[in-house]
Symmetry: C2
Subunit: 145 residues, 2 copies
């Protein structure tokens, strides 16, 4: 049974299982997409501004997506991204940090041009094991109604 | 010689070398971060809304970062992301598409709290081989002055 846009409710909150980020994952993403020493070189990172490796901000965003989509909250119903607003990286993510992603349904509207689709905006929050918020964003997506 | 924030000029445009996205890369990123059939399953994608595999929007964002950072426009000077606004995925990215990333310096200001850092906001545009815009965003980052 696949959930669709019509099953969403304003204010509904989804919270994911905690995910721990390893140094290897940070370095792998860094080499692939954000090759800067603070993401790829433990020794250089140790003497840099943050004192350790930190995850690329785009890696944190991708992990927030994986936490949600990997849990298959809608079964096989596609969730097609339209845009992101007000993304903020509040604090660094370091090797061994455990992240918890939550998403609150902030807006729901029917597509004007495609009545078989609905539009949803979630407020996404990513917190670490110390309950510090590391990233927030608003993501808008389309789904079948 | 590493460039820093002080070397940036308002309106300065950087354009990257074209990058071609393979089906394998799309599927790899999909499995890792956005496991939906439109990103991971060529057969299911063929009968879906887009008719082919399409890249995860977060993959397109990560590729735009790689194009820029991989070109080392500042040498070893760290570029630390603060946030993203007005990200829009305008059109799908399909296997074999060739993307060109450009970035225009839209805002420059000295950090108020940390005078040894400057803040820059770029307007990022990603276009495909047909000159269709596939993604736009504003990204704000900190750099040493």
């Amino acid at each position: 049974m696949n959930r669709t846009w019509s099953d969403l409710a304003l204010g509904e909150v989804w919270t994911g299982a905690p995910i721990t980020v390893s140094a290897e994952e940070i370095v792998g993403f860094g080499h692939a997409f954000d090759p800067q020493a603070q993401h790829t070189d433990p020794e250089a990172a140790a003497s840099g501004r943050f004192g350790t490796l930190i995850a690329s901000g785009w890696h944190v965003a991708a992990l927030a997506m994986r936490a949600f989509i990997g849990a298959k909250p809608f079964g096989d119903t596609p969730v097609v991204g339209m845009g992101v607003d007000e993304l903020r990286w509040h604090a660094p993510v370091r090797p061994g940090d455990t992240l918890t992603v939550s998403r609150e349904v902030e807006m729901l509207r029917r597509s004007e041009s495609k009545p078989d689709r609905g539009i949803v905006r979630w407020k996404v929050n990513v917190a670490n094991q110390d309950e510090a918020t590391v990233m927030t964003l608003l993501v808008t997506a389309q789904m079948p109604v």
